[in-house]
Symmetry: C2
Subunit: 367 residues, 2 copies
């Protein structure tokens, strides 16, 4: 599989939904496989909150491959012997595309809290501009889970002639208060940490000393990505250690898992990017700027494949079902397919239980 | 309804499950109604994590009545014209019974982190000692939700001849990792706050200045007490305020709810009591000290009424069902009744949707 990693620089302003502009800006992206002569084999993969454009393959020296490596590759479910896959780091993120810690032109200082509020629509708009630049005017399909699913739905509504197929996993038409509440706790834990310095932290300090509030916030996110049942299966009531006398003083496995993932997160994700992207998730609402969900979805004229996961507590199957039902209600039953995948893995299922839905994704792409 | 509020002082040591002792100690309790001559109309009500012995009635100057006022009173579901109700503040709590901020004899200084780890068994044992002191050797029933349900189950197993009926709501036989994870986030948010001062805070400072980490931790708890559906019904995607231009900059209703409840909590609950009681909840396991749940439940020889709530995500209906199934398996099907209450209110249902189950509780008490 041929992999390219590129960063494009744009000097024209990006007009944001908030009314503000981003100028100039960079977009980092990765491609897998090769664009065919007809340029009709493009599959856009959209990443989630903490994902990046590195969706597949293993960089030299890397221990873990890209975040959807099981899905993307030669003879894999999204088959790079057939498709030219492209994944763009969203604006606001911290892996090469412009985000809050990028230099605010004309200064050399980072934006920090002067970075504008961005929305999922803005992320999608920036991707369209990048695709134009590299000569891609049409996509065979767009695929994404969680916030990637929000981007995919947004492509279908706001750029209805761009892609033929839209595959949305573990996502929603509008973020509900339960998800907003988890983000709220994460935000509070982060911004109240004195080491956050009201956004004026030195990233090197954080990498060296940690950022306990950010780690705690991440723990809260991990709860929402799992489910009571997946935690039960994964950790039970097992202890990491006890003092030998009684269980009373030990640390539970689930506590160690949260400690490890919380502390580790601080090493590889930027706190301000986290705040800006969770904000984008909170305010995601496919009905904004439209009269209703019916009105908004009536713009769609391409195929929509919806995959929900039975134990997903962050974006409930019911929320995906509403998209299906609304499309049917407005006479687009021929465009929509909905499947609820039975899984105990909660929201994370779209990242870990690939075998449960990858066949359906391949079928959706290839039929 | 006659109400009495009393604090009893004990000078004999309380032998704790950890092997440590508490000596001396106080227990605060409240009673409603009157003990009959046969002393056979006692109903013990056990409170949850942040509850207190003030279960019903309105103190002078108080805005809100006791935490289960809708359930306890003259002609109410737990009818004080018939029953003598007693509710004891658990040890480790902060409303009059001995807890981490009580003076550690012989000093006048609070225990703080020198307070011993306490368990649900210890809470129950202390109550038995109090009942002995005040001449109550038998109870008609014990009732409790959440951690109160753990105490109730513990009464049934460890003090099998004390009460005739045990009514357990929204609880479990052993705390599962999902619940432990929520407590973990709350704990981390609290103990990482510099104002916590590693447990050496001045309560007056906290009341005056707040304790942001504790508030954040409480927010996390509130998520676990609600459910995706109850939040959806309660808050939707409504905004408290917007800047008029776009929704993009507003605060969601659900965020305000969490802010309010988080900040408010710090005013009335002690941080160290919170840590000790959540620890007691985490380590609650009715099978500890027994070979299995079957072994543990085989000690029961009184009626067990189990009420779970369909949307409870903290203690799932399935966990309560396991108690029922195990009792049936060991031949005690005549002692157990299980009912799953359909509710959207999540774990909080046992405190707010009284009309859904109070009739069944009355029936259980009176039949």
């Amino acid at each position: 599989m041929k992999i390219t990693t590129t960063t494009e620089h744009f000097t024209n302003p990006l007009y944001l939904e908030s009314g503000r502009i981003l100028e100039p800006y960079d977009l980092a992206y990765e491609t897998y496989g090769e664009l065919n002569d007809n340029k009709d084999n493009v599959v856009v993969v959209c990443h989630a909150l903490t994902g990046s454009h590195h969706a597949a393959g293993l960089y030299e020296g890397e221990v873990k491959p890209g975040w959807w490596d099981g899905m993307i590759g030669d003879n894999k479910p999204i088959d790079t012997t057939k498709f030219f896959v492209i994944c763009v780091n969203t604006i606001g993120s911290c892996f090469g595309s412009t985000g809050p810690m990028s230099a605010m032109y004309p200064t050399n200082e980072p934006y920090r809290l002067k970075f504008p509020v961005i929305t999922v629509s803005d992320m999608v708009k920036a991707q369209r501009i990048l695709f134009d630049r590299i000569g891609i005017n049409r996509a065979h399909a767009i695929v994404g889970g969680s916030m990637g699913g929000m981007q995919t739905l947004c492509f279908a509504i706001e750029h209805p002639n761009f892609a033929k197929k839209h595959i949305i996993l573990a996502s929603t038409y509008a973020t509900q208060p339960w998800a907003i509440a988890f983000n709220k706790v994460a935000k509070e834990a982060l911004i109240r940490d004195p080491a956050f310095k009201d956004g004026f932290y030195d990233p090197a300090d954080i990498k060296r000393d940690g950022l306990a509030g950010f780690a705690t916030g991440r723990m809260c996110g991990h709860i929402s990505y799992l489910s009571p049942r997946s935690m039960q299966k994964k950790f039970g009531r097992d202890y990491v250690e006890t003092d030998g006398l009684y269980e009373l003083f030990g640390k539970f496995q689930v506590e160690r898992y949260l400690d490890y993932n919380g502390l580790n997160f601080v090493q590889w994700f930027d706190p301000l990017s986290f705040l800006y992207i969770t904000k984008a998730i909170n305010i995601f609402d496919a009905t904004r700027n439209y009269d209703s969900l019916e009105d908004s979805l009536s713009r769609i004229n391409s195929e929509i494949f919806l995959f929900s996961f039975s134990s997903d507590l962050l974006f409930l199957p019911k929320e995906m079902k509403i998209i299906e039902e609304t499309l049917k209600k407005i006479g687009k039953e021929n465009l929509v397919k909905y499947e609820e995948i039975q899984s105990d893995y909660g929201h994370d299922a779209f990242l870990v239980e690939l075998e449960k839905f990858s066949g359906s994704v391949t079928k959706a792409l290839e039929e």
